[in-house]
Amino acid sequence: MNIWALLILPLASAVIITLLTRKNKDLSSYISIGAVVACFAIVAPYILKMFGDPHMHPEEQAFIWLDIPGLMVEIGTLIDPLSIVMLTVVTFVGSLIHIYSRGYMHGEEGFSRFFACLSLFIFAMIGIVISNNFIMTFIFWELVGLASYLLIGYYYQKPSAADAAKKAFIVNRVGDFGFVLGIIVIFYATGTVNFAEVARHIAAGEVSNGTLGLASLLIFCGAVGKSAQFPLHVWLPDAMEGPTPVSALIHAATMVAAGVYMLARTGFLFAAAPAGAMEVIAYTGGITALMAALLAFGQTDIKRIIAYSTLSSLGYMVMAVGVGGTNAGMFYLMTHAFFKALLFLGAGSVIHACHTNDIWEMGKLYPKLKITAVTFILGSLAMMGIFPFSGFWSKDEVLTSAFTSGHTLLFIMGVFTAFLTAVFMTKLLIVTFFGEKRYHGHPHESPSLMTIPLIILSIFAVIAGVVGIPGVEPSFGDFMPSFGEGHGEHHFNYFVAVTSTIAVFIGIFVGWLIYSKKAIDNKQLAANWSGLYAALVNRFYIDHFYDTVLVKGIYNQIARISNYIEVYIIINFIINGSAYLTRQTGKALRLTISGQLQHYALAMVGGVLVIMMMYVIL
């Protein structure tokens, strides 16, 4: 099957739905689902091929998109194990979420629009994954941003959704600012934007260390925006204004992970970059992970809690890349895609049943929503990283990378994050599914269209770690080395595994103490630590800082001052002023027009006399 179909099918689906089948909701959803499932079908043979031959040769195809002297840009595809893993995640999770959406979005006004946007998203996401050069990556990078914008703003009549969509796009643009500059730096350093070519130039030592460091940090800016790393993480929690399947697909499983994928894809750059640049990346990830895990405590909205856990996971992945464990990061990305999509879809199922997002209006839902609850619990266990769920293997891999590379501080932060994650996930489970009944109405289980994807995802959430288990062949690490950078082997470190497992169990115990046993009164706790609690609820005032200081305080003031200059100085003073001066001069000169014939005559005679005088004198 032609690889280009991966791009053409979803794009065609988006176009056809928009132009032709908008009125026919069912047909629209079938077209969209069909496109993404077909993409998965195209990817499937490659997966088998990859398992058969983990060190397969990268396949590259390209055509020239833009060619002027000095700049040639291709649109091309690069199929290697890295992109196959990501393609699998995108098309497989994407297919399940598409199917789920048909149930979840049932009866919505913009049903067809929703599926058109989903198809557009799949198109753009696949574009990022198979891209073979920086500019193509950037093109699709922006297009996933567009799809994300459209889907966050799906309920565009809601002011909060409209704001969230705008915020997501603009915050991403801030990250892209660095990304574009990074691409340009690389282009001038190597004279090409093709990944393989750039890697070759770097490997040949043609690029100075300073340039590499600058380029890698600038490229990383793009990942900071897209993968919502501190300090550009603010858009992701707000993005939960979109429908839940969108949160699952875009804001958990795929798009936000694109930043990590991009870091892995351009690993040749980071591998060669000076250590300082990598430290920045690692600590950005570590801080994001820790901060997001703390912030999750301040939230009561089920989706926002999961969103913060996503932030935290993304921080993990970036941290892994930063400490040199690209394959650990990608492994975590893959398992995360399964269990986080599962958690979001489960949350969607709960919201579908209760018609609220507030976990304090749920409680004791387990008997009503058995399938949802069980799958959700499986997802949570995977997320916490309990043996032998997938999350255990991947989290362990990340922590091991940090530990063995000598980043003890990051390792401690990671373990503490795991502890916090366990606490708030326990809280989420207990408050939502157990404890006393606080819901209204009669919640009932979602239709099978929604529960089947949950079940399938939960299976993968449990077993996806298999490829990362030491000793299992082919192991995940075999897939990763591309462009010849070598973080192939799996490390398994008993100290790390035991430490993190203990931390998780303590976390679960603490959560149980507070929210189930009520041994510790959580209200009392909040009152005792009111300063911290307020800071958590207000997201450490970071949004507040951006909003009042950067946007209202600086940005809008510059706009206001510019307008002041424009209106008062340029238009009113200089331009209208010169017009005024001309008019006044005219008025003054007009006074000489007395209307007295004899004055004119006198002036004429006077003039003649003056000329005569001059003639005589000179």
Partner: protein, 99 residues
């Protein structure tokens, strides 16, 4: 009688005319002063024509007289019509063209 005498006469007439145009208030007098200026020019033209033995000056004088006649006709007509509408021919009061 040299040409100087004629030119002095012409100058005197011209000055009287200019003074009349500048100083008198009655439009009729101003017109008459204008005629004086014309005639001062005519005198000098005639004088030059005689002393230089050239007919050009004489031709110009005849032209001038003709034009002056036409001009007086128009000028007086304007004065009459102004008088009819304004009941005055005082130039100081005719300042409609003022700013």
């Amino acid at each position: 009688m040299t040409i100087t005498h004629y030119l002095i006469l012409s100058l005197l007439l011209f000055s009287i005319g200019v003074a009349g145009v500048l100083l008198r208030r009655n439009t009729i007098i101003v017109l008459m002063s204008l005629e004086l200026i014309f005639n001062s020019v005519n005198i000098s033209l005639a004088a030059f024509s005689y002393f230089l033995q050239s007919l050009n000056g004489t031709v110009f004088v005849i032209f001038n007289i003709t034009v002056a006649a036409a001009e007086v006709a128009i000028g007086l007509a304007i004065v009459v019509s102004v008088y009819r509408s304004r009941k005055t021919v005082n130039v100081e009061e005719l300042d409609e063209m003022r700013y």
